[in-house]
Point group: C2
Chain length 323, copies 2
């Protein structure tokens, strides 16, 4: 086995993991620098170099110990090392536990776009220990809650209501609440991915808020917003667009904003970008086809759908109006 | 569509291909330098950059116009660009027509090993025009015949006999003979790959000669032998090993050598390498598991099998004895 992790996680959890694997013949470790900027071709090459130097074959198992960056990168490396080895996800962030580690989307970034090189490649197992959330920086924990709200908003009205009723327990990291919530998100995601692994139809709903979020992240070079923070803003924008299209009411938009705020997720834009700058970046979204931008919009708080042709003026209104 | 080709092929076949695609909206071309050394991460990145700059989405089709290098690289790029786009193989070398373009093995090289990063990813179509063989350098044509002989040796005794009976027609590039031979190879390969796409069992037989060949190519930094030339020598070594293990007779080995020679394939080693240098490189073979080198050996001229434990002294005898 090769454990791939980063310099933040290694001091916390590498030793206990290695102890569990003591009985195995050959366990090696690769500790990468932390950060989205290392989810690139150079890190992929470094994983391959490490595996080749240690004579690892196709029968290797890679372990991704860390957040979404480590999981996406390690999963992609597993998908292509010698055309495919096994891998196991051990996500240590809330975001990775509820989203990135489940469903087999793996990727690295390209200078011109996030997750532009990757594979659909399922892990052999996803092992989640919520104890790791105790060492997660608060800002990252809160940002992960955005993806949690997403599942309620696009798929499960009851779960949305449960979140509204338990914001305090969630913020306090009540173990029972966290277990329930993470399990729920994994169940919803697993159900959707089982129906549509390759994102031909319903899997695209999981991108609610992400069309805007990817543009926001690219505009700020992935430096200013955590992924969940950008997704939270993107969800508010997509909800507003849904309201402008009379799919939901503006009261629904407010209800979504209120839940996100109660979970302490910052919703204000902290940079400036023009409508054109959004559109250029949104045109690179992987969901698109035939040059048109596809949006995931809400039909209610608990149900989403894809729209392929959104009037430019409404889109402009949402982007210009958001602060 | 994006056509990926190289500087040798572009002047010959790009224009006619573009004419056929005239009716399409958006056809772009990427012309790479020619050579195995460009089957690397940098070229993969360049393909992605080209696609992103031209705003190509997941609904793109890549066309690989060229030999095995272009096909392997373009296929891998198609497998991972936005987690997978369609691609079409248009192989222009005999080697690519009978082997590389069929079966969905795609890959790029790593400094420490050939084809170490890749994917099993099937093309939508493989379009073969044997007219392209008229512009193929003679040495490359002849080298491609090694893979043709391989199919006879590992799978089809009758085809082996047919090859023995028609060497002159093949060398003369008789159209009918070439069509028969290419079709036969594609049929055999397609049959094997349909049974075992991921190389869990019989697909590994297609690696006959390749365990040695990959070592020979790595020792000479992919400069001195064409792939088929290395495979021809590797097949002779593997046949000798089979004879030392009493699986076939030494007369069978000679019969294989005779056919290869009649097809004008050079069989002598033109570099020196020690037994240890072979073993180190052969240990990196993707077929291996649990650290043991797996060999594809002949049981007869027309039937092969895998052996996982070959006595070191016999292996040493074959390597030291080969000239």
């Amino acid at each position: 086995m090769l454990i791939v992790t980063n310099e933040h996680i290694a001091p916390l959890y590498l030793e206990p993991l290695l102890q569990h694997l003591e009985s195995l013949d050959k366990v090696e470790t690769l500790i990468l620098p932390a950060g989205e900027q290392y989810k690139n071709l150079a890190s992929l090459e470094l994983i391959a170099t490490t595996l080749l130097k240690k004579n690892f074959g196709r029968d290797t198992t890679l372990i991704a110990l860390g957040g979404g960056v480590i999981g996406d990168l390690t999963g992609f490396a597993a998908s292509c090392y010698q055309r495919g080895t096994d891998f196991i996800q051990m996500p240590t962030t809330l975001l990775a536990q509820v989203d990135a580690s489940v469903g087999g989307k793996t990727a690295i970034n390209h200078n011109l776009g996030k997750n532009m090189l990757g594979a659909f490649y399922q892990p052999r197992a996803v092992l989640i220990d919520i104890a790791t959330l105790n060492t997660l920086p608060e800002r990252e924990f809160v940002s992960g809650l955005a993806e949690v709200v997403k599942y309620g908003a696009i798929w499960d009205q009851q779960f949305f209501h449960w979140l509204e009723a338990h914001t305090q327990r969630i913020i306090d990291k009540d173990k029972e609440a966290l277990c329930y919530l993470i399990k729920k998100c994994c169940e919803i995601k697993a159900y959707i991915v089982e129906q549509d692994e390759r994102e031909h139809h319903i899997r695209a709903l999981l991108n609610f808020g992400h069309t805007f979020a990817h543009a926001i992240e690219a505009q700020t070079h992935y430096q200013q917003y955590l992924h969940g923070e950008a997704v939270a803003i993107g969800m508010c924008m997509a909800a507003q667009l849904s309201a402008h299209l009379d799919l939901i009411s503006f009261a629904d938009v407010e209800r979504l904003r209120t839940l996100l705020k109660k979970l302490q997720i910052p919703l204000n834009l902290r940079h400036e970008a023009s409508y054109d700058e959004y559109v250029t970046l949104m045109q690179r979204d992987k969901k698109n086809s035939q040059g048109s931008i596809h949006f995931v919009l809400l039909e209610s708080l608990g149900k989403a759908k894809i729209m392929k042709h959104v009037p430019n003026n409404l889109l402009q209104q949402v982007i210009k109006g958001y602060t």
